[in-house]
Assembly symmetry: C2
Homo-oligomer: 167 residues x 2
Amino acid sequence: MKALILTENEAEDIEVLYPYYRLQEEGIEVHVASTKKGQVTFKHGYWLNADLAFDEVNPDEYDILILPGGRGPEKVRLSKSALNIVKRFSEKSKPIAAICHGPQILISANLVKGRKLTSWQGIKDDVIAAGGMYEDKPVVKDGNLVTSRQPSDLPYWMSELIKAIKG
Amino acid sequence: MKALILTENEAEDIEVLYPYYRLQEEGIEVHVASTKKGQVTFKHGYWLNADLAFDEVNPDEYDILILPGGRGPEKVRLSKSALNIVKRFSEKSKPIAAICHGPQILISANLVKGRKLTSWQGIKDDVIAAGGMYEDKPVVKDGNLVTSRQPSDLPYWMSELIKAIKG
């Protein structure tokens, strides 16, 4: 099983690193994609190497998509290739886990309308304006979408995702 | 089940936060103790509130002890109360999980002699000088001690600990 994290500079470190290590614990291979291959440096100074640029990704090779938050998603959503990856996961009903500002990417991929989801409170109105059914809960699961609000929700977010992929 | 993290300012953020959230995923209540109650700020700027000062801790209330690394352990090891907590866990053979510089606390608590363990490479010689049997592996388990070297070992460290407490 393989997971893909879409991220960029200034992402929220723990929202990248927690799923990165957590999915490895489950024996899942985790790749990181960004606008460019190479070092991606997060908000607090942690960094990872992007294995792939967005336009090098074949989404059909992956089973799980992770969209961390922070200030990364406002950069990720500018990439047509990144949005195409997300849309492909959606078409195939593969799990997409987004947290905090991660749902900004879902908005730009037109995947929010009529879906139950949550996000960082600061983008709640954007989620609603895009037609999403916002819920203020630690984790919201609607079909293949698993969303959370903030770092303190990480245990709920990951346990819900892992239940979904193991179930 | 309850876990206790002993930490201080300048600890390695991810080595505190990963077990903090990961054990919550398992339904374990996690408390943080430090020299003083209140905010503890880690190396990269993440912070948590210490629920207790070291001298307020009753170690018999806890089942698991976590010793993260970074520059926190050099402060933690100065507290006699902190060392007494660690010694009590050892007497009772309860799981102690240390990573990176965390084993500095084990050295000061005189718990390293004759034990197999690992640590951050920069303190390998201190571990050996204290009588430890150093192994350069992602995780080393010797009885109740579960040790790892660095953040990239986090998935190995936590899965070994969780296996130990569930087994």
